[in-house]
């Protein structure tokens, strides 16, 4: 990637390839009176224009989640009679180049009868709100409830109950590479090849084959280099089916590349919660119960996992604490906005933010130190495996140890003293703590929408070079390196001898994909297990070649324990393929395939502490120090791990301080470009002091837990807690994100009129 030689979807060019441009609704809600394609179709260079009627045989968008009583919109890939969100596709133009396609798309005339729209979840629930889907007047897609323990009794017995409404605002996933696909139809074989920027090549193949009515084995789906996904490419979108449809109709390859503007309008977004939290505790700070009511903005229809995301929030709601009584309610709400779905952290950031804020709210109410109240309520190291009130089984951990390391690193006691001094001078200095937990390594198959196992094939080639085929689909997580390391360690071969292949359904055995911090913990384990099979075979071949029953495999060599004579894995590989002689109960070749089903999720955790100061004159937040101590189990590649954590933190800080997908009352995304959508930039990031503790996971033989989302989940509450702590002398107990300077300035000037 750094040298510019990698192949992304847009780098793929094929003979006679045509380009598609989508015609999208500028309105969030409208009936379509007519679609006139005549001018566009007559435009020179245009090969075809299709509307919703033309493409009606292509299946609707697939949602992999069922909740009891859930209302599921039937979302066709092109609208026919009504549009439900800005960006909804109403026609597609296929032309000889993308410029002609874009010009012709402008010539498609759609007559809209514009309707009132719903721009947010609470607006959707308001009295007299327009119905997003006319058949469901209340805009409620589902209600979901989960209870653990006896929350009513717990709240009745509590000395103190704190309540807080808080918002996890909508975020745009914003991968550097937008979506895009190329589809190519091979009529002779009735076979379709699709190159698409996805995190889930095999699942996408299965789903698209179903939508297109193709045999699954005649659809080859290739994810070339993918420039980031962050969850938004854990989906199958209308455009992939539309482009495939066009390629099949026209018999030539068709390409579509999403523009950045389209990405803001048509790729899933994340968060979108309005949450009502309650926490009940004893006077000494012991938490006895937690309640949350989540209003989830689902958007206009369901993408692959849309309704499931808030249920992950429920699972995570007790955080790292011994809270045995929980009660969660979710109201899933339709809005005329882009669907929400899995975006980095997917449901867990919202819950972690909520519980970590509530613990601080409680500490403030009880006038306790926020560190002390956490120690008081942590699940203790000797309680693992720990069954939570939400039905999870935390695998391993020592929360107090990790938190202590973070406190020591930042010099917590001294920092509090300095803060007290600063406060006397009228300065707004804050110390924010987040002790977060995570549900990673998705996951046991019964608990995830499409199977949670992962696959790997390890092939030792005749030359001794090692090829790994993994079912995950790395797109920046670096498993090409990490898996090569695992193979290098297990087989004693140089890392450069190992090639990791992924993302091509014709090369790799079926797999699930990359999401939910599962790549190494689940996919890596499958690789590890296949390597154990290889080692067994190597020993069998080595025994034969050394003519010994007592050999060991070490550093790439099979060694006869008696004579010390040895034979290398390269020699063994050559012999295994040449097969002049074959060990008994063995077969030629040196290949192993394993599918691994994890018995549990893994549960990384950590402590993030942010020391900040607010400029009372402007409301601008300055991060003075950021200490993160993360426990993600065993670490295979420290540089990759820290990169994931830092990147995650930039997300979390982005949400806390800057980012916001703002929809107006008409359902228009008003932060629909980088001119107004304030994604975190490198120059905005603080120096991060990152270190680790290590509690290996017992769930997998590598002892790893997963790190893709941890930084995102841990950082947001630390930042907000820091700012709220800075404002605590003004009587502030909560501020909703993003913590923009003007918002803080208004709070400060309202309480200190003289500062204005």
């Amino acid at each position: 990637m750094l040298t510019g030689t990698a192949t992304y979807v847009d780098d793929i060019k094929m003979p006679n390839m045509l380009y598609a441009a989508m015609v999208r609704s500028p309105h969030a809600a409208a009936n379509i009176r007519s679609v006139d394609i005549s001018k566009a179709a007559a435009h020179p260079g245009v090969m075809a224009v299709y509307t919703g009627v033309d493409i009606k045989d292509v299946g609707a968008i697939v949602c992999g989640v069922e909740l009891p009583g859930m209302r599921k919109p039937h979302h066709t890939v092109i609208a026919t009679d009504r549009v439900y969100l800005v960006g909804h596709i109403v026609a597609v133009v296929v032309a000889k180049d993308r410029y002609v396609a874009a010009d012709a798309a402008d010539l498609v005339e759609v007559d809209y009868d514009v309707l009132d729209a719903v721009g947010g979840p609470e607006q959707a629930l308001a009295e007299g709100a327009p119905a997003v889907h006319p058949q469901w007047a209340d805009n409620i897609a589902f209600k979901f409830e989960q209870k653990g323990g006896d929350t009513d009794a717990a709240f009745a017995s509590a000395d103190v109950i704190c309540k807080q409404r808080m918002i996890s605002q909508r975020m745009v996933a914003n991968p550097m590479e937008t979506r895009g696909c190329v589809a190519s139809w091979h009529a002779a074989d009735r076979a379709l090849t699709i190159y698409t920027s996805t995190q889930i090549p095999h699942l996408a193949r299965t789903i698209l084959a179903g939508m297109l009515g193709l045999d699954e084995n005649r659809l080859r789906l290739i994810a070339p280099e993918v420039g980031g996904g962050f969850g938004c490419k854990l989906n199958v979108y209308p455009e992939e089916a539309i482009v495939s449809f066009a390629a099949m109709k026209l018999g030539v390859p068709v390409k579509w590349i999403e523009t950045r503007r389209e990405n803001f309008l048509s790729t899933i977004q994340g968060r979108g919660h309005v949450d009502y939290w309650e926490i009940a505790a004893k006077r000494d700070g012991t938490i006895v119960g937690v309640k949350v009511k989540i209003i989830q903005d689902l958007g206009a229809y369901f993408q692959l996992l849309t309704p499931a995301i808030p249920t992950l929030s429920v699972l995570m709601m007790p955080g790292l604490y011994n809270a045995r009584n929980i009660h969660a309610e979710i109201v899933g709400v339709f809005t005329n906005c882009v669907p929400t779905d899995a975006v980095r952290g997917a449901g867990r950031p919202e819950a972690t933010y909520g519980i970590e804020r509530m613990v601080d709210v409680l500490a403030a109410e009880l006038k306790m130190d926020p560190a002390e109240i956490r120690f008081k309520n942590f699940v203790a190291a000797d309680q693992f495996p720990f069954a939570t009130a939400t039905g999870l089984n935390y695998d391993s951990g020592d929360y107090a140890n990790t938190f202590t390391k973070a406190l020591d690193t930042i010099g917590y006691k001294k920092l509090r003293e300095e803060q007290a001094t600063a406060r006397k001078q009228g300065r707004l200095v804050g110390i924010g703590i987040s002790t977060y937990g995570e549900i990673c390594a998705m996951g046991p198959s019964p608990a995830v929408a499409a199977g949670g196992w992962e696959s790997a094939t390890v092939k030792v080639e005749p030359s001794g070079k090692v090829t790994i085929l993994t079912g995950i689909s790395p797109h920046g997580q670096g498993e090409e390196t990490t898996f090569a390391q695992i193979a290098g360690d297990e087989l004693g071969v140089p890392i450069d001898d190992v090639l990791v292949l992924h993302g091509d359904t014709s090369i790799v055995q079926y797999g699930i994909g990359t999401f939910g911090s599962r790549g190494t913990a689940v996919g890596g384990t499958a690789v590890y297990l296949a390597l154990q099979d290889i080692k067994e075979k190597v020993i069998r071949w080595g025994s034969m070649l050394l003519d010994s029953n007592d050999v060991r495999f070490e550093g790439g060599m099979c060694i006869d324990n008696a004579s010390g004579k040895s034979v290398s894995i390269q020699t063994i590989a050559a012999a295994a393929y040449r097969a002049m002689k074959i060990p008994t109960h063995s077969e030629p070749g040196l290949v192993a395939t394993r599918f691994w089903e994890p018995g549990n999720f893994t549960y990384p955790f950590g402590a993030h502490i942010i020391h900040s100061e607010i400029d009372p004159k402007t409301g601008q937040v300055e991060i003075k120090r950021y200490v993160m101590v993360d426990d993600i189990g065993n670490i295979l590649n420290p540089m990759i791990v820290d990169g994931q954590l830092h990147g995650g933190a930039s997300w979390g800080l982005g949400q806390a301080l800057w980012e916001h997908a703002i929809y107006d009352d008409a359902g228009q995304l008003v932060t629909g470009e980088f001119m107004d959508y304030a994604m975190a930039r490198a120059r905005m990031m603080p120096w991060i002091e990152s270190s680790h503790t290590c509690t290996p996971s017992p769930v997998n033989p590598l002892g790893v837990k997963g790190v893709g989302e941890a930084g995102t989940i841990g950082s947001t509450p630390a930042m907000v807690n820091s700012v709220v702590d800075a404002l605590a002398p003004l009587g502030v107990t909560h501020v909703d994100m993003p913590l923009t300077p003007e918002k803080l300035w208004r709070i400060i000037s309202a309480s200190q009129p003289e500062a204005n």
Partner: protein
């Protein structure tokens, strides 16, 4: 993100460029504002005249106590030119605040000035510097004071067929201190408020004060009341605060997602205070 069809010419001489612009061609300088708008089809010029290859617009020279800067100087050129850094540091400092390094490498002084974005950085400095803008057409050339050049949001006194060819700023004598202070919008990097201060202090008294403001309203302006409040003063904290408080007086402030009018005016005073303070510290 696919522009409409357009014709493109990249003349090598100013003469040819001006002829084409006279025929209705739209000048393309660094393209940092125009190209994104074209890609969004918010702008659809039929004929782009790329002036980027015209070497005769690429100069920075000193003459007659002034610096003459050709329109094609990039923000990075302005930021890093030893001549500008040494003799008109305010302009160099301001250029360093623009966008990001990629934008500064491509965007040009002439292009930015002609575009007249109400949140651009340069106008604050140019107002404080009492800069002059040279406008050239195929048949004429005129020099306009910056105060007469910026008329309103994206509106300048450029006539059809005219091109911004040069910006003239004064060479700072000793005893003058300058500073540009900016509160930036985190997404775009544009100024929510940008204040440029240029102050001369002689024998302990402020003799000249020029304060240029951008971002606050639809057009950049000079804060004349604040300037007047400084002249004759020594520059004590109280005097600075009093002057800075006047910087938004009578100004109809704009508002957007990122800052209300009230907040903008508050920031204007606050950033004026910072700019004046730093400028005074540099007068020695």
């Amino acid at each position: 993100m696919i522009p409409n069809t357009f014709e493109y010419t990249a003349p090598l001489t100013l003469k040819v460029a001006l002829a084409l612009i006279g025929e209705g061609g739209k000048p393309l300088a660094g393209g940092m504002s125009l190209i994104p708008m074209m890609k969004l089809r918010m702008a659809a010029p039929e004929h782009l005249v790329d002036i980027g290859r015209i070497a005769e617009l690429n100069y920075i020279r000193e003459a007659g106590g002034e610096l003459h800067i050709g329109a094609n100087a990039t923000h990075y050129d302005v930021e890093s030119s030893p001549l500008i850094v040494g003799k008109c540091p305010l302009l160099a400092e301001t250029a360093g605040h623009i966008g990001d390094i990629q934008v500064r490498n491509r965007g040009t002084l002439g292009g930015s000035v002609a575009h007249a974005d109400p949140s651009a950085d340069y106008p604050a400095a140019l107002q404080a510097l009492e800069a002059k803008i040279v406008l050239t057409s195929a048949t004429s050339q005129r020099t306009v004071a910056v105060g007469d050049f910026f008329i309103d949001t994206f509106t300048t006194s450029l006539e059809p067929g005219e091109l911004v060819t040069e910006v003239i700023v004064p060479v700072e004598a000793g005893l003058t201190g300058t500073s540009y202070q900016k509160f930036l919008q985190p997404a775009s990097g544009f100024a929510i408020v940008g204040v440029a201060a240029r102050i001369r202090r002689e024998a302990g008294k402020i003799t000249v004060a020029r304060i240029g403001v951008t971002g606050v309203s639809g057009n950049s302006y000079r804060a004349l009341k604040a300037e007047a409040a400084l002249v004759g003063k020594a520059g004590s904290d109280a005097e600075i605060d009093a002057a800075a408080a006047l910087v938004g007086e009578g100004v109809e402030a704009g508002a957007d997602l990122h800052a209300s009018a009230e907040y903008r005016l508050h920031l204007a005073a606050n950033y004026a205070e910072r700019a004046i303070r730093v400028a005074l510290s540099r007068t020695a």
